[in-house]
Amino acid sequence: MNFGRFFRSTVGIATLAALLVALPFVAAMGGQAWVRILDFAILYVFLALGLNIVVGLAGLLDLGYIAFYAVGAYTWALLASPHFGLHWPIWAILPIGAGLACLAGVVLGSPTLKLRGDYLAIVTLGFGEIVRIFLNNLNAPINVTNGPQGITLIDPVSFGAFKFSGTTQIFGFAVSGPQKYYFLLIALAILVIIINLRLQNSRIGRAWQAIREDEIAAKAIGINTRNLKLLAFAMGASFGGVAGGIFSAMQGFVSPESFSLIESIMILAMVVLGGMGHIPGVILGAVLLTVLPEVLRYGVGPLQMALFGKMLADPESLRMLVFGLALVLVMRFKPAGLWPSPVRRRELQETGK
């Protein structure tokens, strides 16, 4: 991978850093909406890399990942909004959100992780739906979640007096709210990248890979497969919780709609489409799948007008249609993902023979 080597050299890192710093300002030229899209792309990078620990490293098929994200998001929303009149600080809420998500992961994982992989998929999927149904309905008789209306006026992220919403002057530059969140998210994403990389090449990472390859053999050499799977599951869940908290603060608003199954599927698709277990691939998958629908959102309508002079199909469904087709086509022609790790590529070529 000459790409990979470039990014590991000093020059490469400096170039990359400069690009990352410049990006939100370049995007702002097209309007703050694009900066917000960028923010979401990075939030999804974070989420996808959290899920990569579960799916890519430990090989567990989790279709309800969004539920943990929801737990984090609602924790923040409830503890820092006028809904209950609470305005706790970030250093309290973020760990609570991550902790609750982790707890949910353990509670769900401990009975189910001994199941066959596909059963785990359906159980996690069901769990995701249960969480969503509760969020939708826990507004009566006691109003906890405010039902489908969701919770509004959520506090932004702030450290002391420094708020991440609104424009601030930094070194004479006017830095907008979305731009500030961008840098926060980049920091978080770098953190999760480092964690992924280090785990992958560790004793724990090797044990996960062994479980993925042959669970019986892994047990026979003394790996406690259940605990290790639970560990991956709980870690992934905690990352989901953190991402949810930031999401909540960034949007200022949450409602159950943001946590539907399609979101879980989207994140899984990012992991698989990019190249499961391969960090650059997952990042690529997350960015593509966040940006592509947005580009389609802005592109599909005008394109139809230009080509046919009228709207033939509803742009929203055309957008999703193209997205679905993209999933199918990528899997058809690049079954190991767009940017698989060298090892996986080798695996596939050899089994393909």
């Binding site: 890979q209 062994a210 053999a217 026979a220 497969t225």
Partner: protein, 257 residues
């Protein structure tokens, strides 16, 4: 006469296992002494592998149990058996095919090492030292089984004989007190079998007790200190090779099968 012998390393007491109507093991009792090579033979379907699986916690026996190194074995967890010091290979080789040979052995060190998630993330000195030790030990083991030059090849690209050796190296990485080999010579030619014989003998000389399932009677009789014969799940005899070879029931069992 057995009064002044030390306690056996492994003792099986009336182990029974059935699958539906098939009685794979009928009250098998045997004991393996420290430092010996113990052979387990019998016709196809006699229950040898089933005995391994019960002992290593893959199957839960329907009756009886095992004592290992003085304490009972928990019947249902193969990871615990490995932690206690029982390592095994599989009749139909089970390597981690998409990991390299070296990684296969490194992961074998799992139960004897400690580093957790935090260690991995923060890369503290202890973790780095442990990781280096794991790698070194794995390299040494690859030398020991003589496949060091295949260290960076994916396990599934190794030749059949090398895969067998790799599986032994991986088992040895767990620092076992008892190494259980399920038909390690199956599918090997004469030279490979001879090399394997030397390897097994060497492992015993280095202090590991060995339980060997094998169809190759010549190998078993030449290598083992004592041999047990299973037939239709029942133990026919447990004795030194010279006696077993002449036993009428054993001859019949093999001719009958």
């Amino acid at each position: 006469m057995s009064a002044n012998l030390p306690t056996p390393l492994l003792e099986a007491r009336a182990v029974a296992k059935h699958f539906g109507g098939v009685k794979a093991l009928r009250d098998v009792s045997l004991s393996i002494r420290r430092g010996e090579i113990y052979g387990l033979i019998g016709p196809n379907g006699a229950g040898k592998t089933t005995f391994f699986n019960c002992m290593t916690g893959l199957y839960v026996p329907d009756g009886g149990g095992f004592t290992f190194d003085g304490t009972p074995l928990v019947a249902d967890a193969s990871d615990k058996a490995a932690a206690r010091g029982i390592a095994r290979t599989f009749q139909n080789i089970r390597l981690f095919g998409n990991m390299t040979a070296l990684e296969n052995v490194m992961v074998g060190r799992h139960v004897r090492t400690r580093a957790g998630v935090l260690g991995a993330i923060f890369q503290n000195a202890a973790t780095r030292a442990e990781e280096a030790a794991i790698r070194q030990k794995a390299i040494d083991l690859l030398h020991y089984v003589r496949i060091e030059e295949r260290a960076d090849d994916l396990a599934r690209n190794l030749s059949y004989g090398d895969q067998r050796r790799l599986e032994i190296a991986r088992a040895l990485a767990t620092d076992p007190k008892l190494l259980c080999l399920d038909e390690p010579a199956a599918g090997m030619n004469a030279t490979e079998t001879e090399q394997l014989r030397e390897l097994i003998d060497g492992i015993r000389r280095d202090g590991t007790t060995i339980l060997l399932i094998e169809h190759d009677v010549k190998l078993v009789m030449g290598l083992c200190d004592r041999v047990a014969v299973l037939d239709y799940g029942a133990l026919l005899i447990e004795d030194v090779p010279a006696v077993v070879q002449k036993d009428q029931r054993v001859i019949e069992a093999y001719l009958g099968a």
